[in-house]
């Protein structure tokens, strides 16, 4: 970034830097104008609420500074440990599933089936993602109730004869992963497919001429070349996963309370804010989630060089 600043300040582009940075960057008013609309919205609905949450997390209801008091208070709450354990278990299952399965499916759709079939499947995979979050949970409420489910024979074969048994606490992470995968994976399959399309035909042709099998090509050529897209997907899936709220909240109401109302940290923050009237404690929980998300993103970005500009 500093390089770019200096380039702008100097008013000329040194040839050596053009070589290093590939395409030179030029400052122009038009650029700022284009990003301004989004920046205003980001400030209003992203940055300012975050700063407000940080402010709340370090103060009490009267606005007095309390240091880390809010954080220790929420950590000591009896629901804090379980809700973070739930979300970490859920994230582990969901990230592995989404990364492995979407990439495998995308590779198969790209190189193992005809273009027409591939198009049909991409469309089919994408449909659930087009449903709004709430609607897709409602679909699963029907799917998971042995009394009304079209696959009730499967549920019964697995030993579930009532909705209550399906919603046993130990099944919940798997249920939420199922819902999340069903709604979210289709979109990522399409994105991964697009990424695979980016690999030039010459590379693929060279691999074929060298005698690489389709699986070897996938493992040594295709997947390494879309690595950045996979990291990008992992970051966004992680961020979305930590904020799990709608699914457990709806299952909680739909099951008439059989699901813990503070199953996920986001729900716990909600309970703090709106049942205990403790907006400061809720903000402290949100800061925990923010830190978790930033740490994960930071590690993935620096390790993968996601935003490093390719050197020529």
């Amino acid at each position: 970034m500093t390089t770019v600043e200096r380039v702008g300040a100097a008013g000329a582009v040194p040839a050596e830097q053009v070589r290093r940075r590939g395409v030179p960057r030029r400052r122009s008013l038009a650029g700022y104008a284009f990003v301004s609309g989004y920046t205003v919205l980001l400030m209003a609905f992203g940055v300012l609420p975050t700063l407000y949450a940080i402010d709340l997390a370090f103060t009490n209801a009267s606005g007095q500074f309390v240091g880390l008091g809010q954080f220790t208070k929420v950590v000591r709450d009896f629901r804090f440990g379980p809700s973070f354990m739930h979300i970490l278990l859920y994230l582990a299952m969901w990230l592995v599933l989404v990364v492995v399965l979407t990439v495998v499916v995308a590779v198969i759709l790209r190189s193992r089936v005809s273009a027409r079939t591939s198009g049909v499947f991409r469309f089919l995979f994408y449909i659930p993602g087009a449903l709004a979050g709430v609607a897709s949970v409602l679909v699963w409420l029907f799917m998971l109730d042995p009394a009304v489910s079209p696959v009730s024979w499967l549920l019964r074969a697995l030993g579930f004869s009532t909705f209550a048994q399906v919603l046993a606490p130990q099944n919940l992470p798997a249920i939420f992963v199922l819902i999340a995968f069903w709604t979210g994976a289709g979109g990522w399959i399409v994105v991964m497919y697009g990424a695979l399309n980016n690999i030039s035909d010459e590379v693929m042709e060279a691999a074929r001429v060298d005698g690489a099998s389709p699986w070897k090509t996938a493992w040594y050529i295709q997947i390494p070349m879309i690595r950045k897209w996979i990291v990008y997907m992992a970051i966004l899936a992680f961020a979305a996963g930590t904020q799990l709220f709608v699914e457990p909240q709806l299952l909680q109401t739909a099951s008439l309370g059989r699901v813990d109302p503070t199953w996920s940290p986001n729900q716990l923050a909600y309970v703090f804010a709106f049942q205990h009237g403790d907006f400061n404690g809720a903000a402290a929980i949100s800061i925990f989630l923010l830190t978790l998300g930033l740490m994960c993103a930071g590690i993935l970005v620096t390790r993968s060089g996601l935003f490093k500009v390719e050197e020529q």
Binding site: L42, F45, G46, P49, T50, A53, F58, T59, N60, A61, S62, F65, V66, G67, L68, G69, Q70, K73, D77, F78, R79, V134, D145, A147, V148, T162, A164, Q165, L167, A168, P169, I235, L236, A239, Q243, F245, V246, Q249, L250, T253, L256, G257, R258, Q267, A269, Y270, A273, F274, Q275, G277, F279, G281, A282, S286, L289, L290, T291, L294, V301, T302
Partner: protein, 479 residues
């Protein structure tokens, strides 16, 4: 699907609440400079660590003042009314009878099933300083928070009605103990809409056909349950899987699950014999399969068992809302008997499942119109005569029982059972700041579904109640 139930701790299908999390929005660009953000975060936390905490995290709100600051009154201004769909027709009837009163009527979930929609909204209104509904129907649990300020700068949402709004003569006509959930610090913050005293419901047609006597004690009930299991397998004498089954059974058994021993002190002792006797009674009937671990109101119950319910120990609204509306049992079969007694005990106690309240906002700009509506809803014969549930106002309850439309459905007179039960409600089950539905449904019911016994689940239930009670500020004893 059946409609909604009048008992406030029950409604089905459940209302989907505002599902937006309180989190701030995030975007990928927020993460594009992770290192600098991480540094900033580290610096912030470091700075916070360096400074010692100089104030407490909790700012104790002063106990509710008796006087509240009235908003500037304008007797011609419109009042906003929030009611659940069961109570909506009553509010609409008032509007029809009083066309000169300007009213905005809003339907919401009525705090059913432990919903905190009203509480959530009032928290937000307290922060924005506007938007409060003038009159609201809610659950007794709502009064516990509405009678106190939600933050140091806020004023308690509920207006103390005994402070010149509702005459004392009216207040004293409510059924014995029915205003207890409304009373805090010596003031009355709500008017009780209905009481939901627990009685023994039974299918008289089936009992007569099989030659069974209606039980009068818990021991007889247990014996009959065993007998039914043997002679008519598949028929039920009860179900414990609803969000409020504990109020039917454990409340009736005088189990100290949440006994308020002071304003902020709570006694929770599920190892008391009053709790274990009920747990083992139910365990024996659950294992005999004449008590279901599913709920009467759980999905699919009507289809599988609706016609096989021989007895149900539950609130006064079960008759119309469970047997008539949900199970669609034909008229002339169902009857109610007085609450069951324990052998060897001199008096009978029973539970209470729901029973709503009406509150007036202390922020209302038109207190006289808001109070007039609330009084009409809870005390007028015009409304109570055909009220959906048993009125808490004694003269109104008589009118209600005299109305043939409220009794036609039943196979035998219900007045005696209802009136006796109304006086037998045990007062030791406190109206706490947390809903008793949460621990029961999210801890006990999943354990029962997994095949554990109630007796073995009592310790887990107790610790769930204790944890919840402590988190909202109660000092808990378990003796």
């Amino acid at each position: 699907m059946t409609g909604r139930f009048p008992g406030t701790s029950n409604s089905y299908p459940p209302k989907i609440q505002d599902t937006k999390g309180p989190m701030m929005s995030r975007s990928p660009s927020a993460r594009s400079r992770p290192r600098s953000v991480l540094k900033l975060a580290a610096a912030t936390i470091g700075a916070a660590l360096a400074l010692t905490a100089c104030a407490s995290t909790s700012t104790k709100t002063t106990s509710a003042q008796s006087d509240f600051k009235q908003a500037a009154q304008d007797t011609s201004s419109a009042i906003t009314v929030w009611a659940d769909s069961t109570r909506l027709p009553s509010v609409q009837a008032y509007q029809k009878a009083h066309p000169d009163v300007k009213m905005n009527i809003v339907t919401y979930d009525g705090s059913a099933d432990g919903s905190t929609y009203l509480q959530t909204k009032v928290q937000l209104f307290d922060r924005t300083n506007k938007g409060w509904p003038d009159v609201v129907f809610g659950s007794p649990t709502d009064v516990t928070w509405a009678s106190e300020p939600t933050s140091p700068s806020a004023q308690a949402y509920a207006a103390p009605l005994d402070q010149g709004l509702v005459p004392q003569t009216t207040l004293s006509n409510f059924a014995k103990g029915s205003l207890t959930p409304c009373q805090f610090n010596g003031h009355t913050y709500c008017l009780r809409n209905d009481i939901a005293q627990v009685v023994l419901w039974y299918n008289k047609a089936l009992m007569d056909k099989w030659g069974y006597q209606v039980p009068t004690t818990w021991q007889e009930y247990q014996a009959l349950g065993q007998k039914v299991a043997k002679e008519h397998p598949g028929y039920l004498v009860g179900a414990v899987g609803d969000t409020n089954s504990q109020e039917s059974y454990f409340w009736s058994s005088q189990c100290p699950a949440q006994e308020l021993t002071g304003n902020t002190t709570l006694r929770v002792n599920l190892s008391s014999p009053n709790c274990t006797r009920m747990a083992s009674l139910l365990d024996s009937l659950i294992s005999a399969k004449s008590v279901s671990t599913q709920g009467f109101f759980s999905q699919g119950f009507t289809k599988s068992y609706g016609s096989k319910v021989l007895m149900a120990y539950g609130p006064s609204w079960y008759g119309q809302y469970l047997f008539n509306a949900a199970f669609k049992t034909p008229a002339g079969q169902i009857a109610a008997a007085p609450p069951l007694k324990w052998d060897g005990e001199s008096s009978t106690y029973t539970g209470n499942v729901g029973g709503g309240v009406w509150m007036v906002s202390s922020h209302s700009k038109n207190l006289s119109a808001a109070t007039a509506l609330t009084e009409w809803l809870t005390t007028s014969d015009a409304n109570l005569k055909s009220a959906p549930t048993y009125p808490a106002y004694v003269p109104g309850a008589k009118t209600w029982l005299d109305n043939p439309a409220n009794k036609d459905y039943f196979a035998a007179p219900i007045s005696d059972a209802f009136q006796q039960a109304a006086n037998d409600v045990w007062t030791g089950w406190g109206n706490t700041k947390f809903s008793d539905a949460t621990a029961w449904s999210s801890v006990v019911l999943p354990a029962l579904s997994a095949g554990k016994t109630l007796t073995s689940t009592l310790p887990a239930w107790q610790s769930a109640i204790v944890n919840e009670a402590k988190s909202v500020g109660y000092t808990v004893t378990t003796q």
